[in-house]
Symmetry: none
Subunit: 264 residues, 2 copies
């Protein structure tokens, strides 16, 4: 009953101790989740300590998708949550685990691929990781004592997934089949804009360029972009570049004859 | 704010390993609970391993009420929940952690003293223990894999207590005062892009131009844009236009010296 339902992928980003990877697998499987992805584990892979700790949930480790970096791990995902204890100054919507898993359930029911990122034990997710997420999950812990470890954070999120999907199991949610952009699409869009804007001298002064790029990436990853939006945004940039390279400043019309109307 | 509220007592019944007692203290204090009772701990009391594991939550151990047996620990309690993985044949109401903590909150508000029992690591609560409870809490885990340990069971129950008693836990928390763009801002942005893209020949062929503008406007009005986003998007377009009007195609850097770093 449990594992055949569509479900979010839980992505462990640069996890350090094998024991914690194993504990995360157990926490997930307690609530019927079995799609684990692992990005650049510190001690390599496979990890015997993870296997020993996972015991009955070892299958999750065998089937885990290993990735070298976060963009590779998120290639097929259209909506990404990042868990963090301190939402800091990030301008992204912040959800409780409950609200996040409710939203995840709706999105998954509508055909989206959803991922939840969990950071490394000591430091948590970095700003660059978070810039690839659409929204934040923050567990509302005691402000005087926030000490959830990786396994506990996974446990609470998995628990809420199970709670939300049990509750909505009877409801019928018919969302239109929106063709959402995947992480891969957004990544390609950001790269396209970044390289052209670099050429055009947008990221200036140089000392602020790196920070500006994070702000820029954050903006696009926060937006609910469809594939058609992404196509249009690519088209806008392509046209601005074509226009720039045309010698006749007074001319108009694109250089190729295909036009810019989006497919949809 | 947290610990001065009336709250249930969490009663560890014959706990075995000190580490688990410490982990339970941490789990409780993460969600603002600090009334621990301990019945006949296997390794005596105080327990240095419990203290080491509790770290920042050590106060809970110092203040824990120690009892020789369960009746002594429950002397002042008017309503008792027992946590168990297998509610078995017991003729008692069985609650999810959520429903149980909702009921606990109501009873505590009405002046009752509520306790929650957690059994020893290996075997869980015995029938004799459960016979002293008014109701059962059972976490709805995966029937194929039920492996919550003591600390995890305490964590989920404490989390639900906090959720039931904090109204905002259900809501999306908007961190900080996000400075959202107004309709006026978005309108100005769309006009700016439209007129420049018109110049650049983006809306082509002419027969489709009106439809494309609608799609374009829809895209921006659908996005959760902040003022900073709008500024950045204006800046991108301004820079592309400056670049286009520069005569030296190999040059780089913006023409004005102010740079493009967003305000925030």
């Amino acid at each position: 009953m449990f594992s055949h339902l569509p479900q979010p992928a839980f992505v462990l980003v640069r996890p350090q101790m094998g024991e914690n990877i194993g504990a995360a697998a157990r926490a997930m499987w307690n609530f019927g989740l079995d799609r684990m992805r692992i990005v650049a584990p510190r001690d390599g892979w496979p990890n015997p300590k993870a296997v020993a700790m996972a015991s009955g949930a070892g299958r999750l480790l065998d089937e885990a998708i290993l990735a070298d970096d976060l963009p590779a791990a998120l290639e097929d995902c259209s909506f990404v949550f990042a868990t963090t204890a301190r939402p800091r100054e990030l301008v992204k919507p912040v959800y409780s685990p409950e609200a996040a898993m409710k939203l995840a359930a709706q999105k998954i029911k509508a055909g989206e691929k959803v991922a939840v990122l969990f950071g490394p034990e000591r430091a948590g997710l970095e700003n660059d990781d978070i810039s690839r997420a659409n929204a934040i999950i923050s567990v509302p812990v005691n402000p005087e004592f926030a000490s959830l470890n990786l396994g506990q954070c996974v446990l609470l999120t998995a628990y809420e997934w199970q709670r939300q999907t049990q509750e909505i199991a009877d409801e019928v949610i018919e969302l239109g089949k929106t063709d959402w952009a995947t992480g891969h699409d957004v990544e390609a869009l950001v790269s396209h804009y970044e390289s052209r804007l670099d050429e055009a001298g947008f990221f200036f002064p140089l000392t602020k360029a790196a920070g500006m790029k994070v702000v820029f990436r954050n903006m696009f990853s926060r937006m609910p972009l469809t594939r058609a939006d992404v196509q249009m945004l690519h088209g806008i940039m392509r046209q601005m570049v074509r226009w720039r390279h045309k010698n006749d400043p007074g001319g108009d019309g694109p250089e190729n004859g295909s036009g810019n109307a989006p497919e949809k």
